[in-house]
Each structure stands twice: as C-alpha cells, then as structure tokens.
Symmetry: C2
Subunit: 209 residues, 2 copies
DNA sequence: ATGGTTTTGGATCAAGCAGTCAATAACGTT
DNA sequence: AACGTTATTGACTGCTTGATCCAAAACCAT
C-alpha cells in the first residue's frame, strides 16, 4: 500500500560511493550527495538515515566487492600461480586508470581508520581476508609444485596486501597503469617459483593498454 | 622596530602538519588549528595567509623531509645493499607505530592529488625522487657486485616506492610494526642478491620492538 | 620617553553545513 | 472510489565554517 520509491537503492549507494571516493567524507556535503544521487533531501534521510549512515553503506559495499574481487580471482579454476599473477594484473588495471572510479576503501582506510572504530575494524577484516586468500592460493601453488615449499605463505600473503595497497595509493596519485603493471610483475619475483610453476606461467606478460 | 613574534614559525607548521595529518584538510577547522598551534586567529592569517596556505606549507615541509629521510639513508656510507634494507626497516618503524604521527604526505596524496594540481605535482615529484634514489642505490649495489647485474634497477625502484607506500597505508590502518617489518624483509627477496651481497647483509634481521 | 610597526584577541560577517518539519503527492489495497 | 501508508517536496532552523575588521597592547630603534 505504500507509495513505491522512485529510485534504485543500489544505484544511489553506488553514486554515493563514487562521490565519497572522490572528495572524501568530510569533503562531501549533503548537497553534493543530493546532486550526485538525484534524491531529494528528505528521501535520503528517510531511506538511509543521514550522511554518516549513507557513507557506511557505500563503504561497506565497496569493501565487500573489493574483497570479493580478490577472492574470485584467487579461487578461480586456473593454476594457482597464474591466479596470483592475474590478481596482481587485475589490481594494476583497476587502480591505474584516470577515468576509473577511485577506491573508497583506500580513502576510508586513510581518512577514517584512526577516527571511526567501525571503519578501522572493517578495514582490518578486509585486509585479513585478502591476506588469507593470498596465503591459501600460495599454499595451493606449493602443493601443486609451482612454488618452493620452503616459502612462507603467511609472510607472502601480508606482503602482497602491501603491494596491492601500494599500487592503489600510487594509482590514485596519478601513476599510470603501465607502471602499476610493472610493479605487479616485479613483486612476483619475491615468490620462489619452481621450474614447473614458471612453465605454467608462460613467458608472455600480455598486453594491457 | 616591529613587535617580534611570540611563536616559532617552524613549530607552528609542525603542529599544523600533525593536525592536518590526523584529520585531513577538509576535516580540520580553523579553530582546530588555532587550538593545536596556540595562535590567535589574526596571527595565523598575518603569518600564513589562510587555511589553504598553511596546509601547503605543512604539506611541502612534510614531503620534503620524507623525501630527505629516504635520500639520507640510501646515500649513507654503508654498503648499498645494507642501505636498502635499512631504508625498508626505517619506513616500517616510522609508519608502524600507533603513537607516531601519521604521514601528511600519504594523506594529501590520497585526499587531494585528484583535486589540487599543486599537490598532485608535488606528490609526483616526491615519488620520482624516491624512485631515483632507490634506483641509484641499486645500481651502486650492482657495481659493488652485491646485486646481480641483470636486475632492472628502474623497475625495482618504482617497485620499492609501491612497497613503502603500501606499508604507510597499512600502518595508518593499524597494522603493527612487526608486520610492516616482515613486509619490508619479504619485499627484499625481489632483489637478486649475489652471494657477496648476502654476506654483507649478514644473517641477523635485528630486533625492532 | 616616544613613534611607528606589528602582533594580538575579540567582535563580526556572510556563506555553507547537517538535519528537521509540515504539507503535498502517489501508490496498493480494499 | 476511498483509505492508509509511504515517498516527495521545499522551506526552514540553528550551528559551524573560513575569513575580515578594529582597537588595544607590545616591542624596538631612536
């Protein structure tokens, strides 16, 4: 019996995500959000509660999909070592583009993790999840004989977390995609890949323009 | 004949740097700055011009000293390969501490590099300088026979830029110092160190509590 | 002392801020 | 067709913002 909404909630959150990612939480005014989403003032308050709540919705959604994107690649059906390279390439491509929307996850981590406990906890959990996915994939590769069994999977997992976040930060600062790709490929040299693994990887680095 | 200032300009800038680093540009009000610096309103405007100008002073100063800190370590009198490890450790220690003041450089890079051209240019120049210092140090190490001459010094330089920025981001998100140190040591495995270089490095990783 | 210059601190301003309220409009159910 | 429920709308509120103005105080060279 109620009057139906004239907007798509998911789309509003996505627009808000973009806006917050571009100008930050403190730097985004309610009017900015209204313009970006097309909502009327009271609609936003009815549907979401306020600026902080809408931000958290957008932030949690962005974090979840970022974590999910990593998991999907690292748990695909490819060879484990190929999955790792694919993930690094995918991070480089995602963060190394001027027109691509910047990451709200990074922004929130830098802007709010020291001020908002909930953001800090979410960021920590996300890092942990990514780290665990990487570690599991490395263990897979070790079991497949593609990575030397003496390698420390945990250490490499946290390490790749840092590399990914470094690429994200550099990408936001304007570093071009090709450079991020180089960083990704270079970081792969940390992994003691066996001859078998190297065979699976192939020699081609691919073309990413 | 003019009345002398009752404040130390450098100290004011340093206090402002800390405040901006903690709450960002948009998140810091003029009253916050007055409280942090102890200045009176008009004094701040007389001495610096306004919020934006004071921010730029603090940002440029922070960037310069961050770049300088890297350069100092990488151009010290130690063995080249030791310098690199020392720099990674120093970055981990600097960014991996809850009480240490967060980096305004990272904050500005993430918050403003897409909005303020001058910030973006400064950030880009800083990255370039760090990258160049790393590359030069790697070349030194190659000439000293500590790193395989086939290594791509440029690629490793940009790579270490990303690692450092990744550590900075993770540190701000609450990742502890020990983890950052592990990341730093792990990242060193990317470098093809010769037996001679390994000898110079020693076996000890040191104790950093 | 004294004059000229600067700092200082309080008062003030207009603009922008997040959030609220009451009235209207649109829908599904009955 | 009428009702109850919810979305929409736009005006409104009190507060904070960055910035400016002005008069009084502080200093140093003379």
């Amino acid at each position: 019996m109620p009057r139906p909404r004239m907007f798509d909630e998911a789309e509003v959150i996505d627009r808000a995500r973009r806006t917050f990612a571009e100008t930050g939480f403190a730097g985004t005014s309610l009017d900015d959000l209204l313009e970006a989403t097309g909502l009327a003032r009271q609609s936003l308050y009815n549907a979401f509660g306020g600026k902080k709540e809408l931000f958290m919705r957008a932030f949690l959604s962005d974090t979840a999909s970022a974590v999910d994107a990593v998991k999907t690649v690292l748990q695909s059906a490819e060879d484990p070592i190929v999955r790792i390279r694919t993930q690094l390439v995918s991070s480089a491509v995602e963060h190394g583009s001027a027109q691509a929307p910047p990451s709200l996850f990074l922004r929130a981590a830098v802007e709010l993790s020291s001020l908002t406990p909930e953001v800090a906890a979410t960021v920590a959990t996300a890092f942990d999840s990514i780290r665990a996915d990487y570690t599991a994939c490395i263990v897979d590769a070790q079991n497949a004989g593609e990575i030397d069994s003496s390698a420390d999977g945990e250490a490499l997992g946290t390490y790749f977390c840092a590399v990914i976040e470094g690429m994200s930060t550099l990408g936001r600062a304007g570093v071009p995609r090709a450079t991020l790709l180089q960083i990704g490929f270079t970081s792969l040299a940390t992994v003691p890949i066996t001859p078998l693994g190297r065979e699976h990887l192939g020699t081609e680095d691919g073309d990413w323009t």
